[in-house]
Every structure is written in C-alpha cells, then in structure tokens.
Symmetry: C2
Subunit: 407 residues, 2 copies
C-alpha cells in the first residue's frame, strides 16, 4: 500500500533536477524558468507514451530514437516554443540533447527531449545552448519545483505528486512533475509528465504498466478536445531502492502498478482542474456499463461537451446536455435506463431517473454546482463496468487565453 510523500521528481533516490530561465521566448520574463533538466545518478530503464496526433513534434521523434534501447539517464525540456513544424526542428531537438550531454559528460543518446509552446516558429537554440551549462550546474535534490516551473506554459499552478511503498522490505519511491492546461484531450495528446522512480523493474514491465495506466488516467482528461503535437509521458526507473527486481506480474508488480496509477491519477486531476481558464474540476463517472470502453466513451463525451462545460461554469443543472452528449458519443446505451445525479462537497441532487427529468430543488442544485469540484454521476443500469473522466468548465478566460496566445 502506497502513501503520499513530497519531493516531486526528486523524491526517488538518485534523481536531481533543475530549472532556469534562458530566454527561449523573446521578451519573456527573466523570472519565468523555461529550461529544465532531470538527471539520474545511474542508468535507468525508461518507458514513454506519445501523442497520437499525426503531426508529431521533432522532440518526440528524437526521444523515440534515444529510447530504442530502453535506457537513458535524463531529460532536457523547454517551454516557450514547441520546436515543431520548422525546417530545423529535428536538428534543434538533437542539439538540445547534445548540449545536455556536453554539460554532464554523458552521450546525447542518454537524454529524452521535450518541448512545449507555440508550433511553427523557429526555436531560439542559442538561448538554450547558453542556458544549459548553468542548468546542469544547478542540478539538485531540491530542484523539482524549479524544473516544474520551467515546463509550465499557461498552467497557473505547478503540478507534482509523489508516493512511497514497501516492496520486499525496501522503500520504493515514485515522484513526478507534469504540465498541461490547454490542448488537453484523451489519447495522450495530453501534456508533459516526467516520472522518476528508484524501483528496480524490468523495462518490459515498466512499459506495460505505464501504457495501461496512461489509458486510465491522462487519457481520460479533456480540457478543450484538442490533442497537441508535442505531448509525452516518460518514466525513468534507476533501481536504487534495492527492492527485488520486478520482472513479471507478481504481487510486487501490482503494488507498484497501484502506486504509479495513484501518481498519474493525481496529476491527471490537477491538469483537469487547471484547464485553461477553468474555475472548477468536473469529474464524470459512468457506472453499471456493459463495458469499461463504453463507460469511458460516455464519460469523455460528457466532460468534453462545450455545452455541458458552459453549463457547469454557469452552475446551471442542465442535465439534458449530459444526456445529449452521451447520445452523440457513439457508445451504446439505453437512454430510458439512465439515472443522473450532480454531486459535490455541498451534497447531491438527482435530476434524471430512467431517462426522464425529475423535479428537483434548483437552489440546492446551484449550491452543489458552485463547488470547486463537481461530479456528474451517471448510472446506465445495464452492467458491471465503470469509468471516470476528468475535465473542467468552459469560461470567459479560456477564450481570452486562447484568443491571443501566440503573440
């Protein structure tokens, strides 16, 4: 059983991190970090998932290449420019790894590289080159927050999580940082998430766990339905905890899996709650579905609906939009069996039973919907499966932020 801890991406043994300002984006504040590094003191097995967007930014291709052997030592990442869709994007992603290698005495292939920001503008590679030596010099066991701040874009709060668990008498720790705000949508067009652990685990098992967990956490978040070109989730495991090596799906694997899922679920909820302009986190759980897949599809349609999102912003218990979104999700269900409730810290209010509207207390509903976290609870009354997806409301600020992001 895991318990929460602190330290973010440096919580696990043998990991250091740093974040500095180097000026990737012209005119950016010197207060805003834009270059991050995470480094393990020894080689890690690594696994990653990538955006499903057909247009993938150059850093993703370079990372795939560098992870072909399943091992690496560290991560270099920048905000302020996506390094995507420019003639020199690929060379510049390679160069970032080269700079990191020079500053640390390692090889370029030892690094994963990630970028986030505007697409289609040439990245200021000189700024990165001049920033890397100072970045490497700043690496520290207390560097998680600085690194996190360096990958933030329109994020309003840093997103971090860490848990520890006992495996074979040893303490194993998993820590992470993530960024993500706009362009957050299911299917791993999601965000940047960097996860580190001192767990001793085979690359195969690590990859297997990550792929499944990402499907149930990050891929169930939606902010605006857009899927970015740049986003990835990477996990590095350096084995320093000294636990018995996890190489098949034994008890220790399942304990590790649960702990890693907790880290990813925590970050997923934080990303949804910090959706661009969001004023509240919206969770939709679909219960008693015939399959987890339909439940997920229905829950995603609900949290992804602009009309539901706008109603949640307006604390309007317009449950017809929930049923309507389910209807166009393409998942099979019987409208005439559906029950819907809204719930939050202020209580719950049932609004629809067996597909028909109930008379409910509008004042009470307003109170329920006015909380920071609101749950839309859907019961299909058909089977034994369920799924939860996360999103946020649609606000004036979303439009403001995205009406003029580039300039």
């Amino acid at each position: 059983m895991w318990k929460e801890t602190t330290g973010g991406v440096c919580a696990a043994k043998g990991f250091k991190a740093a974040g500095v300002h180097c000026g990737v984006k012209a005119g950016s504040s010197p207060e805003k970090n834009d270059l991050a590094m995470i480094l393990s003191e020894r080689e890690c097995v690594a696994a990653a998932t990538y955006t499903l967007n057909r247009v993938k930014a150059a850093p993703l291709y370079v990372t795939m290449e560098h992870l072909e052997d399943g091992v690496c030592r560290g991560i270099i990442a920048n905000s302020g420019n996506a390094n995507a869709c420019c003639p020199l994007s690929h060379e510049n992603a390679k160069a970032m790894c080269q700079f990191a290698a020079q500053a640390t005495g390692l090889k370029a292939e030892d690094f994963v590289v990630a970028s986030t920001g505007v697409i289609g503008q040439t990245i200021n590679i000189q700024a990165i080159q001049s920033g890397v030596p100072g970045l490497a010099a700043a690496l520290s066991e207390n560097g998680s927050e600085q690194a996190e701040r360096a990958i933030m874009t329109t994020d309003t709060v840093p997103k971090t999580a860490a848990v520890e668990l006992e495996l074979g008498g040893k303490t194993v720790t998993i820590g992470a940082i993530a960024k993500g705000s706009g362009m957050i949508h299911p299917n791993m067009g999601t965000m940047l998430a960097f996860i580190t652990t001192d767990c001793d685990i085979s690359q195969e098992m690590l990859e297997d766990a990550l792929r499944q967990i990402v499907g149930r956490t990050f891929n169930r978040v939606t902010v605006d339905g857009d899927t970015s070109t740049n986003d990835m989730c990477v996990v590095l495991a350096n084995g320093l905890a000294g636990n018995p090596l996890i190489e098949w799906k034994d008890e220790n694997y399942h304990a590790f899996y649960e702990a890693l899922e907790q880290v990813c679920r925590t970050l997923a909820r934080k990303i949804a709650a910090d959706g661009e302009g969001a004023s509240r986190l919206i969770t939709c759980t679909v219960h008693h579905a015939r399959s987890e897949e339909s439940a997920e599809r229905l829950a995603k349609a609900v949290v992804g609906s602009s009309l539901v999102k706008a109603a949640m912003f307006g604390t309007d218990a317009n449950w017809g939009r929930v049923l309507c979104a389910m209807g166009y999700s393409k998942a099979p269900f019987r409208p005439e069996y559906v029950d819907i409730k809204f719930a939050s810290a202020a209580g719950e209010v049932e609004v629809c039973r067996q597909g028909d509207g109930l008379n409910f207390d509008e004042e009470k509903a307003k109170q329920v919907l006015s909380q920071d976290e609101v749950t839309i609870d859907v019961n299909l009354n058909e089977g034994g499966e369920q799924a939860t997806c996360w999103g946020c409301d649609l606000t004036y600020d979303y439009v403001k932020i995205n009406g003029d992001y580039r300039t």
Copy 2:
C-alpha cells in the same frame, strides 16, 4: 441554372406559413413567436433527415411515423422547449399534430412536428393547444418570416433562402427557413430546416437528393461540437409548378439538385455565421485530397477545434493549431506536403508551405483575419478531391449564452 428569389418557405406555389406567440416558455416575451405552421394547399411528397444522436426527441419519432407513407401536408413546430426526455413527450408531440389537424380540417398524420429548446422539462401543451387555432387562422403567403421567428432560439437573425429555376418551360421554386445556433455539429445533429418546393418530383428522387445534399451542406457545419437530440431537415414538394415529373436522375434532376444544394448551402453558411456568440464565419476548404471523405474530416477538425476558433476570435494567425487539428482528425495525410493560407476580403496570406512555417507579415495577417468571413485554405498536395466545412469563432459570448441558457 437557378437564380435567387425571395419569400422563404412561401416562395413556392401553394405554401402558406404563420408564426405566433403562445407562451411555451414561462415568462417569455409576448413579442417572441414560439409556434409555427407551414401548410401546402395540396398533398406533398416529403423527405427528412434526422439527428444521429442516440437520444432522439419525441417529435422526431412522431415525424418518422407520419412520414412512413412518404406524404404529408404541413409542419407544426415550436421553440422554447425541446419536448424531449419527459414522461409525456411522445403524447405531447402527437397532441401537437392533433391540434394542427383540428384547426385545418386535416388528419394528425398529415403533419410533421418539430420542437427546439430545453431538454427534460415538460412542455406547456396547454399553451400550444390554445395557440394553434390563431396560428392556423394566420396562415398566409407572406408568413415565412413570422414562422421563421417562431423557431428561433438563440439565433440572432432569421435564416431564409429561396431560388427558382426553369424545368421543361415551367418555373420551379424552392424556399426554406432554418434555425440553428448552438449545438450545431456535423451529422445532422444540426438544426431545424424546413424546405418547400412546388417541383413535381417522386418521393424517391426527393429523398435521394436531400440525403446527399445534407451530407455536403448542413452536416459540414460545426458550432460547438455538440449534436442535438431534436434536429431535422424536412423537404415538402407539392408538384404545383407543373414541370415534367422528375422520377429518375435525368437532366432535370441534376438542375433541381443544384438548386436545392444552393438553398441548403446558403442556410448552412448562415447557421455557421450565426453560431452562438460568433463574431465571424470561418470556412475551411481542404484541396487536393486523396478522397472527399478525408478532405471533409480534416476540414471539420479545423473548424471544430476550440483552439483554432479562439485564435480566429483573437485574429491570431496561429496556423500551428490548424495543422495540429488536422493531425488529430484521424484522416490520413502527409504533414510535410501541407500548404496553409488564410484568406478574406482583405486579401490572403500564406503561412505554411510543405509543413513548415513561412515568415509572413503579421500586420497583414491581422487584417485578413479581422473580416466577417475568413477562409482557411489547406492544400494537401496529394490528390484531386476537396471539401468545404463551415464554423465560427469561439467568443466570450458563447460562454455567456451557454453558461445560463436554461434558467
């Protein structure tokens, strides 16, 4: 060859229309019509397309039943309540046809019925019952605009179109009214569109033409990605023009098809331009695709992207979001072949060639994007097919309108 004319849904011979206020929605202004009727002086062949939402409102099922024989005489429709997802919805939809029949001396089965408004609240059927006699008495050849106003919800302008053409020495006229603003999305979860014509055409040919044309016009409009439970497109043809009967795909069929397509395209553009809170019409044309289907899917993803829509609101030439939206559309294309231009009455600006960004004049781009109608022109450089989709920008007002629509 068709030419534009006036008169809306009464432009064709033998059709009358009316719109009145009956108070469907409690507290609504007596100035706002909410009940409409369209009537042909003789029997029409009829065809209809319906929302693909799995949750379909009761009026759609009643309409399907009444059109099983392919003929009808008129349409009764209300705004202010969707008559969906309530225990009495089906009975009430039947009752609306019954009231229309009583007031006109016809049968309930002679009527198509449609509703638009909030889902899940019981419709005020007494208000409709008391309104119908006055509605029938008001039927007139000049009633198109009153009828149009009666089906508007958050629409800010009435939407109407009419064309006439010569077929076999006779003048054939096609006229229409439509409503649609929020919840507008491809696949006929679209809007209400009522089309009338005096063309003499078989039911089979009429249905065939309508289905194809809806696929290329209304189904290529998106406002917010939501697909309503209530929307339908109906065409009635009473044959009064006296043209040679169209019963197969001859020259006259093709001429009629083109004219009907023009009517539907005009309404589709008007619906997109009047998207909730919209400040401009966004057209995306994808050229030189390998198939019309991929071109359509790509163009829809572009006009449907919240990030593209917000950028258009902000007159920000953020073409990376265009390429990104194409990337997650699931249509096949080669990013490295793609050219992108923005165009409007103020000129055009090329922003991306072969997948890479170009240096362009930001001031000029702002001018181009500041017009009421902006085109995003994508060239895939792969094949000979193309498709055009329509949408609108995402504005503060969209959020405002939808944050508190129900109450």
